[in-house]
């Protein structure tokens, strides 16, 4: 039986979420809510979405038992939900396929997106090409430098990448800029938000599209292990891959859920992006949620080795899951994430994204403290090909 039924009809998860936007965006959000509500309840739309996930994205993604690494860690068994095997190499594509189908239904011919690591930008450019739509991606100039390959990938796919020079020149500034574009061009433009943040209905809609991760995992666990995992672990920047895995398990209170944030150079250094672990509630990007901010309520620049976690906010549903105690949130440092990155390469022959390496790093800490009969299911949200330059630089190697 389904007990958890948030958000309410105004997009609130307890005190979090909502629609904190300028009046100029209200009509566009209302239009989006209406269309999404219709598609959500339309079996034809849902069937089309499933078909695309199967034939274009390559779902279902396997649940893989990382035996050698588990043995090395000497405790609980590590299972990986292989979102890295999706088309374009990360979970982001689940959501962009869903939103592009919705955009098409709404008659929009142009899609825009913000991107941090470039994964959501690539996923947006990909579906725009797939469905024949114009695509503009906003990306902080600092992130463009860190993720040059993904910038080129988006261009190959026919997208225009617009560098954002304002603020800290990272994901949050790209989000501001995309919002500005949307306000100005709302008639023909659909804004594909890449994470479970932003104003209602985005946190709910992106969660619904990503929930396929947890839904599949539940069935696969039943089939292969005849039981559900003891603990779910996923990295949290905005939090879309984590919500995608957690949401179908929220009512299964026997399953622990742990979100892993980026502690960057350490929680005490102020150079981190651990929003839920260190932040305070506030309002940013259209919703009320935990934020990393100073005493004046200004948003503070964050740091993480992984561009995808480098965000001072977090999806409002995570704020709620934290406050009500259903999920736990922890943080691991750049260094711990890197070490888990190398471990997975060596023990399993899988190169993980630096984002996902945060979830792996926490699993590596937790597993040895648990019995060998315990099952940890980790969302391996993306592959690490995009991070080659960053990792090489950290090891002092010039490519």
């Amino acid at each position: 039986m389904k007990i958890y039924d948030l958000p309410d009809k105004h997009g609130h998860f307890g005190p979090y979420g909502g629609t904190f936007v300028a009046e100029t965006l209200i009509a566009a959000l209302n239009e989006l809510c209406e269309h999404y509500e219709r598609c959500r309840n339309d079996p034809i739309f849902q069937a089309e979405f499933s078909q695309e996930l199967k034939h274009y994205v390559g779902r279902p993604s396997p649940v893989y038992h990382a035996k050698r690494w588990s043995e090395h860690l000497g405790g609980a068994q590590i299972l990986l939900k292989r979102e890295d095997l999706n088309h374009t190499g990360a979970h982001k594509i689940n959501n962009t396929v869903g939103q592009a189908l919705l955009a098409r239904r709404m008659g929009k011919t142009r899609v825009i997106a913000e991107t941090g690591a470039g994964q959501h930008g690539v996923a947006s450019a990909t579906v725009a090409a797939r469905y024949g739509m114009e695509c503009v991606v906003y990306m902080g100039s600092e992130d463009m430098r860190r993720q040059a390959t993904n910038v080129y990938r988006m261009k190959l796919l026919g997208a225009t990448v617009v560098p954002v020079e304002s603020g800290s020149r990272t994901l949050k500034d790209a989000l501001n800029e995309a919002m500005r574009d949307w306000v100005t061009n709302v008639e023909n433009t659909y804004y594909i938000i890449g994470t479970v943040a932003g104003p209602h209905p985005y946190p709910m809609m992106v969660r619904d599209f990503q929930a396929v991760i947890g839904q599949e995992a539940k069935m696969q666990m039943q089939q292969d292990y005849d039981r559900q995992p003891d603990i779910l672990i996923a990295c949290v920047g905005g939090g879309s891959n984590a919500i995608g895995l957690f949401y179908p398990f929220v009512d299964d209170t026997g399953v622990r859920m742990i979100g892993v944030e980026a502690a960057g150079k350490g929680i005490g250094t102020h150079q981190h992006a651990a929003t839920l672990v260190t932040g305070k509630p506030g309002v940013l990007h259209g919703n009320r949620t935990y934020l990393i901010q100073d005493e004046n309520g200004q948003i503070v620049e964050t740091h993480s080795i992984s561009a995808g976690l480098d965000y001072p906010g977090v999806g409002p549903e995570h704020s709620w899951l934290k406050d009500c105690g259903r999920a736990e949130y922890v943080a691991v440092t750049d260094e711990e994430a890197l070490s888990a990155f190398h471990a997975l390469c060596r023990f399993e022959g899988i190169i993980p994204a630096l984002e996902s390496s945060h979830a792996l790093a926490y699993a590596a800490k937790l597993a040895p403290t648990l019995g060998k009969d315990k099952l940890l299911l980790i969302n391996l949200s993306g592959r690490g090909d995009k991070d080659m330059a960053t990792v090489a630089e950290q090891s002092g190697i010039a490519l």
Binding site: E23, V183, G282, G297, Q298
Partner: protein, 275 residues
């Protein structure tokens, strides 16, 4: 009667329209702001909108965004802005001051603490860009407790059902954003503004200010024919930016005075001949 209401009542009696300039507090330097406010008054403005700097001004274009960044270099926070208003009030008790900004600095300070401090400093109205009517019942309650007017934005896309909602919460005046997009955009469709104002007036019994896209004497004059108040923001902030190292008082004073003449003149020809 608070300062905003009495200001509009006096203007109505004289059959004049209000001129409302926007500046960002602390831009280019916190030391200039209070002097700039007095200069605006001298140049003939009726109400001052004072922007509270924010790190992520989503609804603003590049001009106002840069002004926020300049102010933030000096770490100007909401509490500092309230102190600036108190200083302005030492010499001026007549001209209403409206704070304009984003939700998070207010969330960080707390509704009650903010409303009390703002009221004591002499703030008359507050416009929070990202508090739409459906998310701000408690906020409006706190403001009204201290006789501060909650100012709301309306846009060309605001549906009629929401106009009723805004009418119930708003006081002082409402601010009609005359075009889609962010602040600092440049095209303005006077016919659509005229039509929309007719619709707004059938729901809202408050003075209506029109802003976005007012860049010169001719647009200021044209809007003054339609609205109760003309709001000028990016154009003034541009002057402040270009004055950079120099003192912006004189250039801003001249610009605002020319807008004042354009608004008060019966025809635009009059403005041009005066020059």
């Amino acid at each position: 009667m608070n300062r905003i209401t009495s200001t509009f009542a006096a203007l109505a009696q004289q059959k004049r329209k209000a001129l409302i300039p926007f500046i960002t507090a602390g831009d280019p330097d916190p030391a200039v702001t209070v002097a700039l406010m007095h200069q605006l008054v001298q140049s003939g403005v009726d109400i001052i909108e004072l922007g509270v700097p924010f790190s992520d001004p989503m609804a603003d274009g590049p001009t106002i965004q840069r002004s926020s960044e300049r102010a933030l270099k000096h770490h100007v926070g909401l509490r500092d802005v309230i102190v600036m208003v108190a200083k302005f009030r030492q010499k001026n008790q007549a001209v209403p001051v409206v704070l304009m900004g984003y939700a998070n600095p207010i969330e960080a300070m707390g509704y009650a603490a903010f409303a009390e401090a703002a009221s004591e400093a002499g703030v008359d109205g507050v416009l929070v860009v990202d508090y739409p009517p459906e998310e701000c019942a408690e906020w409006v309650q706190q403001l009204k407790k201290w006789d501060i007017d909650p100012i709301f934005l309306l846009s060309p896309t605001t549906p009629e059902t929401r106009l009723k909602q805004v009418a119930q919460l708003a006081s002082g005046y409402v601010y009609y954003v005359s075009l889609k997009g962010v602040t600092g955009a440049s095209h303005l469709d006077l016919d659509s503004v005229r039509d929309k104002l007719v619709q707004l007036r059938s729901y809202i019994n408050l003075p209506i200010g029109v802003g976005f896209g007012i860049r010169d004497e001719s647009t200021a004059h044209a809007i003054a024919q339609l609205a109760d108040a003309v709001v000028v923001g990016s154009r003034i902030v541009e002057e402040i930016e270009q004055a950079s190292g120099d003192n912006p008082l004189e250039v801003v004073g001249n610009l605002v005075a020319s807008m004042r003449r354009a608004i008060d003149s019966a025809s635009l020809n009059e403005v041009v001949t005066e020059k």
